[in-house]
């Protein structure tokens, strides 16, 4: 099963390679990964998506926790959370298809971030399935290039 794991870690040199080295060394897989500073400049938040049986996920969280620079490990999948990724998709947009592309990205609340006479680059934000849906719809029109971020996630606040 897929798990989104959020890791708070001290922003020290080499810390990312400690995390990725742990995954490659122990044969765990990483489907996506994203890191950035938090409100505290010396702390980074790393979100990673991985999959495996429960015992593997348990080892992953324990092993992450064992890294000296790791402050906190949260398996988001055990909580209520929101997750997002972003894609920039360059899609063919010629006379016949420009309107169609705009309609699609409007439905998915995307926006055009770069325009040329032959293509649009569109930005889409959402969870993985939404982004995949957009890609599926745009594919017949002609996708030229895709870049995607990893997943980021945040637990939902407790409802009062």
């Amino acid at each position: 099963m897929k798990h989104t794991i959020s890791v708070l870690l001290q922003n020290k040199p080499g810390v990312l390679s400690r995390v990725t080295g742990l995954f490659s060394g122990r044969g765990f897989n990483i489907e996506s990964l994203s890191v950035a500073q938090t409100l505290e400049p010396e702390v980074s938040c790393l979100t990673l998506v991985t999959s495996g049986e429960d015992n593997i996920i348990e080892q992953i969280t324990k092993q992450l926790h064992k890294l000296i620079d790791v402050i906190k490990v949260t398996d988001m999948s055990e909580t209520e959370y929101v997750e997002r990724e972003m894609a920039i998709i360059r899609v063919k947009a010629e006379a016949g298809t420009r309107a169609e592309v705009l309609r699609v990205i409007d439905i998915f609340r995307g926006k055009v971030v770069d325009v040329s006479s032959k293509s649009y680059a569109v930005e889409i934000t959402g969870n993985a399935s939404k982004i995949n849906a957009v890609i599926d719809i745009l594919r017949p029109i002609g996708i030229q290039e895709i870049v995607k971020t990893g997943t980021i996630a945040m637990t939902r606040a407790k409802k009062a």
């Binding site: 080499g14 400690r18 015992n55 324990k62 092993q63 064992k66 000296i68 402050i71």
Partner: protein, 567 residues
């Protein structure tokens, strides 16, 4: 007070209680070596290969129960330490390794003797550091020692660029124990888990204690022995746990696992409660996982949560230091009057009888042959003639297993072996480290003729520091353990295991100014050992043994531990 980085290093080492450093110099650490000259209270042991410095520091740490220290130069000095570090990591041994590094402004430049040793050792250290700012030097060293010795112990590497140790830094005394935001190991057990464990212990009819290296690390032998004795629970130990419970105790079943005793493996396979204490369910111990303790409830005490339920599902996990957890269990049992000895004895007697029957059926043993020295006999004689009181180190292979099976370790911190990584060449440098830690003690390296050649150069170190270590080579003229596998599973095709050219170990000892003795007949074994023990010098005893003797019992890889090949 402003001092140089090198001076600060010396001060920090002494703060940490270090008195012996194992090392080897070079350009990047020349300032540190210069400073060492002015610190006569720090004994520096000049090894002859950096790998040996780390193994020696490892054994020093094990004997003393403190942190061992190694110091080497950048580049090749640093890479030579990797095997030693990896071994200490696998065995959870607290050491701090200081490596020299090229000056900070050259880092990343492919400078002379530059390697990214922090990158190289990331997966085999508990943690490591590159000190890039001299103001971080002192806190880093203190943190390194703190991390090495606390929690699940392990090696920490500190990489010291040459300009850092030469710069000036403000030294201040430590203000208290190191506090870290992210690292706080759990020592105290959860009382609810202790209660659950105790209830299971009281209920069990066929309990077994499975004790590992964590018992030694946490100095928990007394608490373990108390638990076993109070309730008559039989004990088996891993290779790393030997000495954690007295080997001559009637409740000891010796080692379990691939080369464990028949009765220990049978007891584990048939027990209804397995009490794992500071042991990590290694594959050499469990054999085929689904057949390991199949009928047992499992209690697991371990300070590292990632050890728990890693290989084998655990019913009652206790994340804690063994000493604290066992004291908690003993205390609960006492408070709840669970120690009514007669009732307990009555309940457990059939189980102890069952084990006694297994012991009778297949005791540890070997077939004697006239005129030929059996390696097991040599180890038995070493045990007898040292009264079981020596510190034993081993190389790796058959020699290591015979040492584990036939020497009776009665006290913790008397058996040093490379268990997890299994490094041939560990034994001699380890013997030197052990001897430096316990100068008055008899230290014996039980060796194979293959392994001993991997760090034979350390004879010079032993001689230089007057370490009267005794090396007992069980000389079968083979890479014996691999040959045994070839005999059993590869149709006796001895590919690359005969050691066709071998040194004359007696002459070799002499070349180093040590003493060489040889035994070729059983009757010569005792006189040779006696002479060696009476010699105040480094001694090699070359025992020419039955060439194709095997280690038994043996659980073939991937088999259940009850499927043992026996003598």
């Amino acid at each position: 007070m402003k001092i140089t980085g090198a001076q600060a290093l010396m001060k920090c080492l002494k703060e940490q209680g270090v008195d012996v450093i194992f090392g080897f110099p070079g350009g990047a650490v020349i300032d540190i070596y210069d400073e060492l000259l002015r610190n006569e209270d720090l004994t520096h042991v000049l090894v002859r290969h950096e790998q040996a410095a780390v193994h020696a520091a490892d054994a020093y740490a094990r004997v003393k129960g403190e942190v061992g220290v190694a110091l080497v130069t950048s580049g090749p000095g640093a890479t030579n330490t990797v095997t030693g570090i990896a071994s200490a990591y696998c065995d959870s041994i607290p050491i701090v390794v200081f490596t020299g590094q090229v000056p900070t402004q050259l880092i990343g430049n492919d400078a002379f003797q530059e390697v990214d040793i922090v990158g190289i050792t990331r997966p085999c250290t508990k943690h490591n550091y590159l000190v890039k700012d001299v103001n971080d030097l002192i806190p880093t060293i203190r943190e390194a020692f703190h991390i090495a010795r606390t929690g699940r112990p392990g090696p920490v590497l500190v990489d010291l660029p040459k300009d850092i140790v030469a710069s000036m830094v403000n030294y201040t005394e430590p203000t208290g124990p190191v506090k870290m935001r992210t690292y706080r190991p759990t020592y105290e057990p959860h009382p609810g888990q202790i209660e659950k464990a105790c209830k299971a212990i009281v209920k069990a009819k066929k309990p077994v204690i499975y004790a590992g290296g964590g018992v030694i690390a946490s100095n928990a032998s007394a608490e373990l022995t108390e638990l076993s004795h109070k309730l008559n629970i039989p004990v088996t130990m891993t290779l790393m746990g030997l000495g954690g419970f007295p080997g001559t105790d009637p409740l000891s079943m010796g080692m379990l696992g691939m080369h464990g005793t028949y009765y220990a493996n049978m007891a584990v396979a048939n027990c209804d409660l397995l009490i794992a204490v500071g042991a990590r369910f290694d594959d050499r111990v469990t054999g085929r996982i689904d057949a390991f303790a199949p009928n047992a409830k499992i209690i697991h005490i371990d300070i590292d949560p990632s050890s728990i339920s890693k290989n084998v599902g655990v019913d009652i996990p206790i994340v804690a230091d063994c000493k604290h957890a066992l004291a908690g269990i003993n205390g609960w049992l006492k408070r709840n009057n669970a120690l009514d000895q007669d009732g307990q004895l009555e309940k457990i007697t059939p189980w102890l009888n069952e084990i006694r029957e297994w012991k009778k059926k297949h005791p540890l043993g070997y077939v004697e042959e006239t005129g030929v020295i059996k390696p097991q006999f040599v180890v038995q004689k070493l045990d007898e003639l040292t009264g079981g009181n020596a510190i034993i180190t081993t190389e790796v292979g058959q020699n290591q297993m015979w040492a584990a099976q036939f020497y009776h370790f009665n006290k913790p911190r008397t058996f040093m072996t490379s268990g997890g990584l299994g490094v041939m060449g560990y034994g001699l440098p380890a013997a030197i480290g052990a001897q430096m830690a316990a100068p008055g003690k008899t230290v014996i390296d039980i060796a194979g003729d293959g392994s001993i050649q991997m760090n034979i150069q350390e004879l010079a170190t032993a001689r230089q520091y007057k370490c009267p270590v005794k090396i007992a080579i069980l000389n079968n003229n083979y890479l014996g353990m691999v040959r045994q596998w070839q005999e059993l599973f590869y149709d006796k095709k001895y590919s690359a295991t005969p050691l066709d050219v071998a040194p004359d170990f007696v002459a070799l000892a002499k070349a180093y100014g040590a003493v060489g003795l040889r035994a070729t007949k059983p009757s010569e074994v005792e006189p040779v050992i006696k002479e060696a023990l009476a010699t105040d010098n480094t001694v090699i005893m070359d025992f020419v043994i039955a060439r194709e003797e095997g280690v038994y019992p043996m659980v073939p890889a991937g088999k259940a531990t009850t499927e043992m090949l026996l003598v």
